[in-house]
């Protein structure tokens, strides 16, 4: 009999503890969103936790889209307070937010991230235009004999695309389609080199995206999963291979990797910040104003993020690879942090 009593009481205690969970007040800031912003936001969160009496915010890396979806789910402490994004909020996402009562949002643009094409520093480097890059990696490219006709990508070596490029097989490792880095690479690099081609120029926007956003699937482009460290490792082992990833991974491995020149530009902090490097994107975070004052520390967290200690020219975010905004932009950000203006839908259009 004793055993059964023990069992029943354990079962009861367990289920009571589990089911009586109230939608509790939360004292920890909950942040979701982009995996690109994650390495920067985590550093800020940790500093914030160490330097103030607030608990360290909790960060989930859900991807930009996933983060905004969670963020727009509604007001209340079971929903996140802040979401990070490696692209701007879409009007449709703004509508989703509004329909769930999340109307007061403040947007912060926190700097940029460049996407690099890198190889082992022992390899011959690429100096490539976006058009050549599209020709090398596009699924369908213009026929070399008839520029108005699209054919399946025939190029095997870089030198087949253009004789100035190395005589090596085209082999590029990059992120899978679920990745924000892949989205940005496709939109900025591939589309940038494709939309002005004569075969594509007259197409409708949807058809154009269909052609320009398709990466070849015949083995020249190798999908490597979300783990950029894996790509770095492969590049070091194989000097014929190129890899696509975020600038922070290049910086971390600066003495073993080199970055290809795109349109003649080397990805450096200055070039990316000045928008001269062609494959750079802005990073954002969005704050739910209804939670300010409900969850303690949100204002202070934003202050920490936008402080000169974090994002200034010698700030700690710079040392983890964020391309920090220029001084005026940082001043604007700090004003924004003080005023917390509402995001308007028309600026997203």
């Amino acid at each position: 009999m004793k055993l059964s009593k023990v069992l029943t009481s354990v079962a009861l205690a367990g289920s009571v503890a589990a089911l009586s969970a109230p939608a509790m007040a939360r004292d920890t800031i909950s942040i979701v969103g982009s995996s690109t912003v994650y390495p920067f936001a985590t550093v800020v969160a940790e500093r914030f936790g160490a330097n103030t009496d607030f608990p360290t915010p909790k960060l989930e890396s859900t991807g930009s889209g996933g983060g905004l979806k969670l963020f727009c789910q509604g007001i209340g402490t079971q929903h996140p307070d802040i979401t990070n994004a490696s692209r701007r909020m879409k009007p449709s996402e703004f509508d989703l937010c509004s329909s769930n009562g999340v109307t007061d949002i403040t947007e912060f643009r926190i700097g940029s991230d460049g996407i690099v094409i890198a190889s082992s520093s022992k390899a011959e480097n690429l100096d490539i235009s976006l058009e050549q890059l599209f020709l090398a990696l596009g699924k369908q490219v213009p026929n070399p004999d008839n520029e108005n006709e699209l054919i399946a990508n025939p190029y095997e070596n870089w030198s087949d695309v253009d004789s100035s490029l190395p005589n090596k097989p085209i082999r590029v490792m990059g992120p899978p389609p679920t990745s924000g880095t892949r989205d940005a690479f496709v939109e900025l690099a591939m589309q940038g080199g494709c939309e002005d081609l004569p075969a594509v120029a007259d197409m409708s926007e949807d058809d154009m995206e269909g052609v320009c956003h398709s990466i070849r699937e015949d083995g020249a482009f190798i999908e490597a999963g979300e783990n950029d460290n894996l790509i770095v490792q492969k590049l070091i082992d194989d000097t014929d291979l190129f890899g696509v990833f975020g600038y922070s991974f290049l910086e971390e491995n600066a003495d073993r990797l080199q970055a290809a020149r795109l349109e003649g530009m080397v990805p450096t902090v200055e070039n990316i910040a000045a928008d001269e490097y062609p494959v750079a994107r802005s990073l954002f975070f969005y704050v739910k104003k209804a939670h300010v004052g409900v969850v303690p520390g949100i204002n202070e967290y934003i202050e920490e993020f936008t402080s000169a200690g974090a994002m200034g020219p010698n700030g700690y975010l710079k040392s983890v690879g964020l391309i920090v905004p220029p001084r005026e932009a940082l001043m604007d950000l700090q004003d924004k942090a003080a005023e917390m203006p509402n995001l308007k839908k028309d600026v997203l259009m």
Partner: protein
Amino acid sequence: MTDQNSQAELVRQSLKRRYRKERRFRAYGIAAIAVALAALVILFTDIIGKGHTAFIKTTITMDVAIDGEMMYLDDPTDERQMKMADFVEPLIQALIREIPGADQNDKAAVRDLINPYASNQLRDALKENPDLLGTTQTMTFLSHTNVDVYVKHANDPNYSIKLTEEERAWVDTLVEKGVVETSFNDVFFSRGDSRDPSRAGILGAIVGSLLTMVVTLALSFPIGVAAAIYLEEFAPQNRLTDFIEVNINNLAAVPSIIFGLLGLAVFINLFGMPRSVPVVGGLVLTLMTLPTIIISSRAAIKSVPPSIREAAEGIGASKMQVVLHHVLPLAMPGMLTGSIIGMAQALGETAPLLLIGMVAFIVDVPGGFFDSATVLPVQVFLWAGSPELAFIERASAAIMVLLTFLISMNALAIVLRKRLERRW
């Protein structure tokens, strides 16, 4: 006679071939085991080779002059002053004194050797004991991660050293002087996650795993055992119980991510439970381990010989007495083994936790079932994806810790089985 002879001859002739066949068959088996062992050895050498250095930390021990003037601080009890005070300068000055040939122009380079959070340590020490102001204290700080990597991996081609030539020479002399030392990495076992590899620890993940497992065990064991007893001892044999049995067997094979989706929809969206907490993680893992426990418990109950039930019934025991006094104690070892193996499975699970928000950066070590937490395999996943190279060794070290837990749980299952099992 000749017929028999020729048959015996035939057998004799084929004997050699049959022996050969058997030897080959055994060799296949040995080869299979060898492949499995080789895979295991490769896995372990790789993980231990990469991870063992994570158990070593690099520290800087120096005499810090806690000079109020230098820090713009004359009253450590004044909160506003503490906020504005400069806790970095005394550390830089202390280290410059230790480095022969370094002067005030090298401040920035010297600063690169000290852990960015060392100043917090000094601040906390002063907060605790304001009398330290104006004294000189011998204090030990973590080094910067770059120094840690240099000291441990100077000749390892897999790591890039991010110190300048000058800084490397400084570190070399500091190591000779005994200012920079390596010791057992207790930080790794006493802290939560951090973005600074040298401060990152696994305690947060261990506690998170423990809390999640407690919830899982407290729910899945009693429910699983109760379900098994009812199905095995009381339930009538009909279509309904057949249907239930098929479904339980089916559930055991459902991919774990499905349970995560279920947990998200039911516990978080419907019941409004918070994200990232061990309670929800435990509930989801309960759903996942329940079929395993029910199936193994039923097998254990089935293996109790019917003669024991009949004997008990024969001397007048009620059905419930038979079950509780005789069947259950005899089946317990098998049930425990099944549960421990189910728990070990749950301990290594990440996919369902992804959806309920336990794949997150959480610095503070969780203190209860409703605190945000992460678990061991998730910590491995997070570190393995970090850009900092120093996290690679920590990921491997975390795998070692996780494997230790898994091996001990499985060993416990074997011991329990050996100890308590009764043979008929």
